[in-house]
Symmetry: C2
Subunit: 197 residues, 2 copies
DNA sequence: CTTTATTGTATCGAGTCGATACCTTTTTAA
DNA sequence: TTAAAAAGGTATCGACTCGATACAATAAAG
């Protein structure tokens, strides 16, 4: 639904401005963090995504959807990251069109050292835990509303997905791909995620 | 102060991830919003900044500081915007090195029509006012903490600036530039802004 | 009056990005 | 079963961003 330009609330404008400003700061910070390793902000984001997604969501197309880019751009970015030895491609066993992107040890270490960036660590660690919780909760609510209001994929973790179920033995099972999931699995984000509201 | 990589709280990581995701969404949305007019996200941000800054902060250098870019990049961006008739440059009367960037009617109309972007309007207008207020407040707190923890310029409005004072006639006065300010002035952001805590 | 800092422009190379074309594999439909 | 459509992925092109560097003009400091 598109609202008329004549009825935009003050709060909406305020929220937009804050997010825009945060975005600018993050970009500058991320550029600096990546520069140390000769990486662009987008390349850092790709590595970060691959470090938190599950095995059904580590393909070039999934990265494309997550970052909202075109597959051509992503293909090019991946080529660079592969040539730097930060990730490798493995062909899918069942579907020969699909490849799985796996972070190398070097790639994983780089992300652990880089994200979250210094700027955010400096700031967040200064805040009382209560405020951290409030901020995280507000950000989450804004994000979910944005995704739902615009019919975008949620890319949430399996734990909160409607396809995830618990067996009577206490194990997890995804009813979409019809495969069992481990305790680690359900902490990762999935491109097929759908909120269980 | 730089914290060791071994003591990063869960909440910090969570907050970072949310901001990163919001950032990605904003970028995609902003690209789409600008595409209609053949503008890049950064160009839109420059126009937006010029629409909310005061007359002491509308120079190329101020834009450079605000966006965290280099002056070369900004100079190039401004050239494009000027060639499209969205802004014009006016030399400063007192200091011939400085130019003032003024949005044209076309430029101002473009920003009013474009910002906040459709995606944010769609989402925020769905939220109850109470939640909007909470989110805005959390974002503001995070932003201020980030700026202070990293010694960055605040770019706040004159209303909240320590240099701003009220005369006994009820008028506003900036003790830094030693000039009177109007009621409209004190709603605009300034590159010399310093929180009055 | 000379040195230094500030504001701004011009140019170069590396990289992002969207668009398009193309190839291969899988899925769907006839 | 076979032909058509859809999906995943790569390659290439042009427009643009960006940092770095060099340079010019003005202002401020000594």
């Amino acid at each position: 639904m598109v609202f008329s330009r004549y009825y935009i609330g003050m709060k909406t404008t305020e929220i937009y401005s804050f997010v825009e400003r945060l975005s600018e700061l993050l970009k500058v910070d991320s550029r600096q963090a990546g520069a140390e390793f000769g990486l662009q902000p987008v390349q850092l984001e790709v590595l970060h995504y691959l470090s938190i997604c599950n095995r059904y969501s580590d393909s070039p197309m999934a990265v494309t959807e997550y970052l909202g880019l075109t597959k051509g751009t992503v293909s090019q970015t991946l080529k660079v990251l592969e040539s730097k030895g930060l990730l490798s491609k493995q062909l899918d066993v069942n579907d020969k069109r699909i490849s799985h992107l796996k972070l190398s040890v070097k790639g994983a270490r780089l992300i652990n050292k880089t994200i979250p960036t210094a700027m955010f660590v400096n700031a967040c660690e200064l805040l009382p835990e209560k405020n951290q919780t409030e901020i995280a909760s507000s950000l989450k609510q804004l994000l979910i509303t944005l995704l739902e209001a615009n019919n975008l994929k949620t890319f949430g973790v399996c734990k909160s997905c409607r396809y995830n179920s618990k067996t009577k033995e206490g194990n997890y099972f995804c009813r979409l791909v019809e495969q069992p999931l481990s305790a680690d699995d359900i902490q990762l984000i999935c491109r097929e995620h759908s909120n269980s509201d």
